[in-house]
């Protein structure tokens, strides 16, 4: 992990090193970006980018789907005075232009609009979530590159060190308590009958890896890192601990208890059902810290036979 981090850090810094003179040049997924000075007015068009900017101690002037961020990502907190520029799939270009940003952060999901965004301000394209990507590495790259771009390199490193320390500390705790086995299935309920199972290409996988845990679900999911499936699919992974991520469906525990499918399920019989507060599964590096903390706490506290 730490070697991984260093090579990546060095790699991104070399990439990011100023060419010469005052103007700095950065290559990214959408081309090359030239900056004369660290940008001050930044617009973030997805929540991973919003989170990363806030981690660096920078408040963006505008973000996409502002109320959604405060409801779903929550942490780090978004100040109330930030402007909302519309939805994440179709933001209002005119509103972005009105904010007169000097940097726009977006992903390849917005690729059809790149040309138009470039007319407003230099646009930095980085996709934490896209086919064949490793979300945590990409999120870390985004943090480091934005740190360098915005003159916050120290802060970026501090954030990563903090996360690394937390992960190491939690890993030791789990090892001492002998809690590294059996494998973990991270699931969230969509309704009484359907779940999302977070797969090995999810952001969460980074937390599992660093904590010395294994993901019980064998296959890869979509590029957001999950598989939507019927609840009965968890029967395919009997030797696992089921970690249920909030929010829960109302009345879930009662309806599960009524079904022998659930009460006979090996993890249920072994009292290996855990419930943890939500971390935004499609966010940036900070979500890993949140998940590592809540997951370790839950595992150390011990499981139960239902989602309570």
């Amino acid at each position: 992990m730490s070697i991984n981090l260093k090579t990546l850090l060095l790699g991104s810094l070399f990439l990011a090193l100023p060419a010469f003179g005052m103007s700095q040049s950065w290559t990214h997924e959408g081309g090359t970006l030239n900056l004369d000075a660290p940008p001050k007015r930044i617009v973030a068009l997805n929540w991973a980018a919003t989170e990363t900017l806030l981690l660096l101690g920078i408040t963006p002037v505008g973000v996409a789907d502002k109320t959604g961020y405060s409801a779903w990502v929550k942490e780090p907190e978004l100040p109330a005075n930030v402007a909302n520029v519309g939805t994440r799939v179709a933001p209002s270009l005119e509103t972005i232009a009105e904010l007169k940003p000097d940097l726009i952060v977006t992903s390849t999901e917005m690729a059809p609009a790149h040309e138009l965004l470039e007319r407003i301000a230099p646009t930095y394209v980085i996709s934490v979530y896209k086919p064949d990507s490793r979300p945590f590495d990409k999120a870390r790259e985004m943090l480091l590159v934005l740190g360098a771009m915005l003159d916050r390199e120290a802060k970026a490193k501090a954030v990563l060190t903090d996360i690394e320390q937390t992960l190491k500390q939690k890993r030791d705790l789990l090892k001492q308590a002998n809690q590294t086995d059996p494998a973990i299935a991270l699931i969230s309920f969509q309704d009484n009958r359907h779940v999302r199972i977070y797969t090995k290409n999810s952001l969460y996988q980074a937390a599992l890896d660093s904590l010395g845990l294994t993901n019980a679900w064998p296959t890869l999911g979509n590029y957001w890192g999950f598989t939507s499936t019927g609840l009965e699919a968890v029967a395919q992974i009997p030797n696992s601990r089921l970690v249920v991520i909030e929010p829960l469906v109302p009345g879930l525990a009662d309806s599960l208890e009524e079904s022998p499918f659930w009460t006979y399920l090996p993890p249920v019989r072994n009292q290996q059902i855990y419930r943890i507060p939500s971390a935004w599964s499609f966010g940036g590096v900070h979500q890993i810290k949140i998940l590592a903390e809540t997951l370790t706490d839950a595992l150390l506290k011990g499981g139960s036979n239902n989602v309570r």
């Binding site: 909302n84 005119e94 007319r119 296959t219 009965e232 029967a235 499918f261 399920l265």
Partner: protein, 676 residues
């Protein structure tokens, strides 16, 4: 199976043995395919007994008893319920295309649940049925209200049902787009999934289905009288309207109860009676009985298909709603072969004489439409919401505003004009005032090709997209013309194009919705037209394209006037019919494709604009073309403006708004047309 000739039995037509054989075979095959994965873990005998018992020491047995067996039972129960509802609906309306899906009941149920999730979650926890039934009643209420004066004329009812489906579907989509994260579970529910982990949903649903089915069966005798026709039935003492209303209410109740449990499982209620009839079910009792069983077989087969595909895609859920749509499409097309062409589109037999508003001066009308268009352009360019509230942009600052407001407005207007002209061309070619690129599936042909391209991950750029879309539109239109040669462009065949398009698009959308992530939102945004992505260059190339196509269209006035006279008269007047047809076909396809790339396939503008031109008194081809182009441009200009400001700073796809406005106009027009 047997070669028995039905014609040879003079007295009482005998039911061909292939009917029970085929349907029972379907059920058994589906059941066997579904049981196959379990046979590795359990013996066949165990697997049968799994329906009433399980062995607590063997988890495979518990799993089969609580997930597989209830899923099979649920599929059979719901299949029966929908099959019966479908057969009853077809009997009430005397129309082979009537079904809970095509009448908008399923969309209505979904609409009710979506609204309840957003605004009254308490009601949903209390009983999902109330919300679903209310939505279903709203849908069927709209259909009835609109077709009241026409005495439920069969095709009008289906048309109204389709429009209500599109309309409520559009509202559903708008809510999903704006409130996506909050409605996450609705994505799966809306896609229709039969996954189970307990018997309680089945035993909860069973009594409701049984009660409604019993009530339906008490109506069989009076329904038989309906076969004699409305007048004779009334003479025999049947209260036709009351009977229809009661039966429809039962159909709505049945469908909504099902929808509230497992989501939208579309087309089973349409396909089952069609299959039963195709296999030779004749009397009402036969049709009701075999449709019910066929429904069970079709849904079980579809669900098994979904289950297998789910297994093959590493456990990622493939909803049953997708596979029913995929199975429903071919059955509808199959049905086409079997139907006599005895239904007429509303206004078809009366057209054009029955539908002639007073002629008006074309210059006045064109002037009026142009003035309205100019006002919309000025408003759209100048009066806009911003971060500090609404503000007025004076003409001097239009160059700045142009970048963000200009190209999209221009593209929207051009797409509207293209659709207006395409609609007029198609109405003239088919001689049918209800023909339109949307309802006939020509836009759908263009859209299907583009969706396929998007799903395959190919990015061809706008020009490539346009070429591909034109190809798709040509394909769809060509297919229609081929059918037309056989069926003479009227009645059900005409609707089938639109319906089949709807079926397949539906299947794709459901799949994307269930997989989750942003694929669905992106697809939805595109399907309903994302004018916000259009750049100046694209807008100007569209201008060049539409102007040149429009120019060519004006050269085709003579063939357009002559073609509706019939092939013989037209060639007698010196027209080279095949060549003229081909030219018009290409023109209509290109115009449709150009607009579909910008505004998506579901805007209704191609239906409304020519209609509006007629209402405004422009009867001859040339005048109608110009007025329709202006009206289409005006409609989409307004839609684009509203799309930008209604939910500022969020925006809606302009095509979605056009579909909402267009749907309303069409519904109103249908009702008004009935009064004449």
């Amino acid at each position: 199976m047997s070669g028995e000739a039905p014609l040879a039995t003079p007295s009482r037509p005998k039911m061909p043995t292939r009917l029970p054989a085929a349907i029972i075979l379907l059920c058994l095959l589906a059941f066997f395919a579904s049981a196959l994965p379990w046979l590795q873990q359990l013996s066949p005998l165990q697997l049968v007994s799994i329906f009433w018992s399980y062995d607590g020491d063997e988890y495979a047995s518990v799993l089969a008893h609580f997930s597989w067996a209830p899923r099979i039972s649920m599929a059979l129960l719901i299949g029966c319920a929908l099959g019966l509802s479908g057969a009853i609906t077809q009997q009430i309306l005397g129309n082979p295309l009537a079904s809970p899906t095509t009448l908008g009941v399923e969309s209505g149920g979904q609409f009710g649940i979506t609204m309840a999730t957003l605004f009254a979650p308490g009601l949903l926890a209390l009983s999902p049925d109330i919300a679903a039934v209310a939505g279903g009643l709203l849908a069927i209420g709209l259909v009835i209200l609109l077709t009241w004066r026409l005495g439920f004329s069969p095709v009008t009812v289906i048309l109204a049902g389709l429009v209500v489906t599109f309309f409520l579907g559009a509202i559903n989509m708008a809510l999903l787009l704006i409130k996506g994260e909050w409605l996450g579970n609705l994505f799966i529910w809306g896609a229709g999934s039969l996954a189970q982990n307990n018997w309680s949903p089945f035993f909860d649903l069973l009594p409701k289905v049984l009660i409604i089915a019993t009530l339906m069966l008490t109506l069989v005798r009076p329904l038989q009288l309906l076969q004699l026709g409305q007048t004779s039935a009334s003479a025999l003492g049947a209260k036709v309207s009351l009977l229809r209303a009661t039966s429809l209410f039962l159909v709505v109740a049945m469908t909504s109860v099902v929808v509230s449990r497992v989501g939208v499982v579309a087309f089973v209620g349409l396909a089952a009676p069609v299959l039963a009839r195709l296999l030779g079910a004749r009397t009402l009792t036969e049709r009701l009985f075999w449709s019910t069983l066929a429904g069970a077989g079709i849904l079980l087969a579809a669900d098994t298909l979904a289950y297998w595909t789910t297994l093959l895609s590493d456990g990622s859920l493939v909803p049953t709603g997708t596979s029913t749509a995929l199975i429903g499409g071919p059955i509808i097309l199959l049905a086409l072969q079997g139907f006599r062409n005895d239904h007429h589109m509303p206004g078809h037999d009366a057209s054009p004489t029955g539908f002639l508003p007073p002629r008006r001066n074309p210059f006045q009308i064109a002037g009026l439409l142009s003035a309205l268009l100019a006002i919309t352009i000025v408003l759209s360019m100048s009066w806009s919401p911003g971060l500090e509230g609404w503000n007025w942009t004076p003409l001097t600052q239009w160059t700045d505003a142009w970048v963000w407001r200009g190209p999209r407005l221009m593209a929207a207007i051009l797409a509207g004009m293209a659709l207006g002209m395409a609609g007029t061309l198609i109405q003239r070619m088919t001689g049918n005032p209800m023909g339109s690129p949307e309802l006939l599936g020509i836009s759908g042909g263009a859209a299907l090709v583009m969706v396929a391209l998007a799903l395959a991950g190919l990015d061809l750029g706008r020009a490539g997209q346009l070429a591909a879309a034109t190809l798709g539109a040509c394909g769809a239109l060509g297919l229609l013309l081929l059918l037309a040669r056989k069926h003479r462009f009227s009645g059900n065949q005409l609707l089938l194009g639109g319906l089949a398009l709807y079926v397949f698009m539906d299947a794709g959308l459901r799949l994307a919705m269930a997989t989750g992530g942003t694929v669905a939102s992106k697809l939805l945004n595109w399907m309903y037209g994302s004018t916000w992505l259009i750049s100046e260059i694209e807008a100007f190339s569209l201008l060049a394209l539409v102007v040149s196509l429009g120019g060519v269209t004006l050269l085709t006035l003579r063939p357009l006037t002559l073609l509706p006279l019939g092939e013989t008269s037209a060639s007698a007047l010196g027209l080279q019919v095949p060549r003229a047809r081909l030219l018009l076909l290409l023109l209509a396809a290109a115009l449709t494709a150009a607009s579909t790339v910008v505004i998506g396939p579901l805007s209704f503008v191609g239906l409304i604009a020519p209609h509006l031109a007629r209402v405004l008194g422009q009867q001859t081809v040339g005048k109608q073309l110009i007025a329709a182009a202006l009206a289409g441009g005006l409609l989409l200009a307004i839609a684009d403006y509203l799309a930008r400001l209604l939910v500022y700073p969020n925006q809606l796809p302009a095509g979605l708004l056009a579909a909402l406005v267009g749907g309303l106009y069409f519904l109103w027009g249908l009702g008004r047309h009935g009064k004449n």
